[in-house]
């Protein structure tokens, strides 16, 4: 055991000396591994970043809210079965709330109807297009959490009366009112004036893809009056205890079936969605990044491994007499095997370290250039990269190391 340690440290010394005396050759050989490690690290960083960004974006959906919709929040292969479903109507909110109130120990708190579509919003000469116009009730504040930069949400009276008031998102306020307060100003939507009563503070982007601040929220009756056509409606239902989401879901399914008047043999003709379901929509994106990353990583590591195998073979050839001498002095097969394995492995580790450094610099650069893209450079990535380097080294060094360990001492000593 002790001898093994001594041989190990001896091998490390030789490997280090070998790399020091062949700096250029070593670095060039390690290039494949460097690229591989950069690829694997960037891939991991991208996937980690998307996950973190997604979780952050997801928070605005609330993890204690169920969404009653026509469509499920996932890819469906039999879309025709969903297309013909009856639309979800905002009116369902009322009977749902009645049933909730009548149920003792209900897991549900309140149902809030929403209806949305895209329109442009004007103020004076300025115009913002593709703004999400959403009609809802004042209880929307219970299911959706946000702060106000200025002003307030519309109150119960405005909500029921369908007053021409609205709350605007940060982007809308920023575009239409660059230098003044939007409060009490009137914006035009579909040619109708709406008085601004509040500005929602900045929410950021959803995965850096689209802004969550390009939004106008107004009372449902006003929405119905001017935009009834082609809007999508959902019912948001707040859950009392988010650890019992599944039970709440079952309860809500029952409630919806009663509202729709479905007989027991009929299938559900609505979908109940939750934040969790959206997460699975992310998997294909993560998978394709992973596949691309693994492909590049695999390819460059393979090329790198071949290069290192080659250079180790060269090294064995160059040092055949040295191997013979070592054997004459009592080095066993295992010792020689170990020595060359360690040489190839430390070459790969060198590549791994350089690769990690390059990847780190690139990540920092990307982080500076695109602050909105979440960068996630983690310790586990470092560990994975090191493990990958070591495995590559062992893999590529094995054949040459094996052939070195099998050399006949006499032939090796005679080698010219």
């Amino acid at each position: 055991m002790k001898r093994f340690l001594y041989e190990l440290s001896e091998s490390w010394k030789i490997a280090a000396a070998q790399m020091r005396s062949n700096k250029t050759r070593s670095t060039l050989t390690a290039l494949g591994v460097i690229i591989g490690i950069v690829a694997v690290t960037l891939m991991g960083t991208a996937i980690g970043g998307i996950q973190v960004g997604f979780d952050k974006s997801m928070a605005i959906f609330g993890d204690d809210v169920l969404y009653v919709s026509q469509w499920p929040w996932k890819r469906v292969d039999d879309w025709w079965n969903f297309r013909d479903r009856k639309k979800i109507k905002t009116e369902y909110a009322e009977p749902i709330n009645r049933i909730i109130d009548a149920t003792p120990n209900s897991n549900l708190v309140i149902a809030v109807p929403t209806s949305s579509l895209l329109r442009s919003v004007k103020y004076g000469q300025s115009e913002v297009s593709n703004v999400l116009i959403r009609g809802t009730v004042s209880d929307y504040l219970i299911t959706s959490t946000f702060d106000f930069q200025e002003g307030r949400f519309f109150n119960d009276v405005e909500s029921r009366g369908g007053a021409n008031v609205c709350v605007i998102g940060y982007d809308v306020a920023d575009a239409l009112f660059p230098s003044e307060s939007p409060i009490e100003k009137s914006v035009l939507i579909n040619g109708q004036p709406f008085r601004v009563v509040g500005v929602i503070s900045r929410q950021g982007t959803f995965l850096g893809l689209f802004s969550l601040d390009s939004i106008v929220v107004m009372p449902l009756p006003a929405f119905h009056k001017y935009f009834s056509a082609k809007s999508d409606s959902d019912i948001l239902v707040k859950v009392k205890d988010k650890t019992k989401l599944a039970e709440a879901r079952d309860e809500l399914t029952g409630v919806m079936r009663r509202v729709r008047g479905l007989s027991p043999e009929k299938k559900d003709d609505f979908s109940i969605n939750e934040q969790q379901a959206l997460k699975s929509t992310l998997d294909p994106i993560k998978n394709s990044i992973a596949i691309a990353g693994l492909f590049i990583t695999g390819l460059s590591l393979f090329v790198g491994a071949i290069g290192i195998m080659n250079i180790t073979f060269v090294s064995v050839k160059e040092r055949t007499r040295e191997i013979g001498t070592r054997k004459a002095l009592g080095a066993r097969r295992r010792t020689i095997l170990l020595q060359f394995l360690i040489e190839s492995t430390s070459l790969c580790l060198l590549g791994g370290f350089i690769g990690l450094g390059v990847a780190y610099l690139m990540c920092t650069g990307i982080g500076k250039a695109f602050p909105s893209f979440p960068i996630q450079f983690s310790l586990s990535l470092v560990i994975v990269s090191m493990a990958v380097s070591i495995l590559t080294g062992l893999f590529s060094g094995f054949a040459p190391a094996w052939s070195a360990s099998r050399l006949d001492p006499v032939a090796a000593l005679r080698y010219e």
Partner: protein, 258 residues
């Protein structure tokens, strides 16, 4: 004249080979490098193997040094049969029992003298401090106390061979095998190396050297001549006694090399 008396029959047998042969297959042809050699070497002998080029000296030397196994015949080293040992067992015998000195020195080019001499101790599993101590000690013994941290390319040929001899000695082996140890040295440096061997012999080491040159062989107490893979003559030393440098007896350990 007790100094030059060949080792008595009472000293233990180190090497006992009987009728060994070594064949090399070269395509169609078979080269009979050794055709039945029997030889006994006792502890604290000083033996030279001579013979023309191609007579099988190096082949025999490799056999004695457990670098190679015979095609047939029996080889006992310190009473153990080595003719059928596995590679790693042979490696362990070479490590502990045999010190090699090569014509081309065979030092590790990037390692300093100390590290070169330490190498057999690394393979023997000796701890780093003891290793250092022992390597430095033998280097001082061969007169290189002030060259511990020199790399081979910073040393003269004679100094390199001294490092190699120190390396051969460091594990305190049963025999020292030297194949043409002065072959790459000028005659003056060669003489210095031979004086070193003489000194080692007087301190009880067993030395076997291969050489072409008669004056080198004359340092030995016994000469074995090979021709075409068989022993032509085995001269126990009395025949060549007048050639020995007995007129200049070295005072044992007190020799100073420089």
């Amino acid at each position: 004249m007790s100094l030059v008396t060949p080792s008595g029959l009472d000293s233990p047998l180190v090497i006992d080979i009987e009728n060994i042969t070594k064949d090399y297959v070269m395509g169609e042809e078979i080269v009979h490098a050794l055709r039945g050699v029997s030889l006994q070497i006792r502890s604290n002998e000083y033996l030279a193997i001579m013979g023309p080029s191609g007579s099988g000296k190096s082949t025999l030397m490799n056999m004695l040094g457990c670098l190679d196994t015979p095609s047939s015949g029996r080889y006992e080293f310190n009473g153990r049969d080595v003719s059928s040992m596995a590679d790693d067992e042979l490696a362990s015998i070479r490590n502990r029992e045999i010190g090699f000195v090569f014509q081309t020195f065979n030092l590790l080019p990037r390692a300093d003298s100390l590290h070169n001499v330490e190498l057999p101790l690394v393979y023997a599993g000796v701890d780093p401090e003891t290793r250092r101590e022992r390597a430095a000690h033998v280097l001082r013994e061969v007169g290189l106390g002030d060259r511990l941290y020199h790399k081979p390319n910073e040393l003269s040929g004679g100094q390199r061979q001294r490092v190699a001899i120190a390396r051969a000695l460091v594990n305190d082996p049963s025999i020292i095998l030297a194949d043409e140890p002065t072959g790459n040295l000028d005659s003056k440096t060669g003489d210095e190396i031979m004086a070193l061997f003489e000194n080692l012999y007087r301190r009880g080491h067993t030395i076997i050297l291969v050489t072409h040159e008669a004056d080198i062989a004359n340092h030995a107490r016994r000469t074995v001549r090979l021709r075409d893979g068989i022993i032509e003559s085995d001269d126990d030393g009395f025949g060549g006694i007048e050639n020995l440098p007995v007129e200049d007896p070295l005072p044992g350990d007190a020799v100073v090399y420089r």
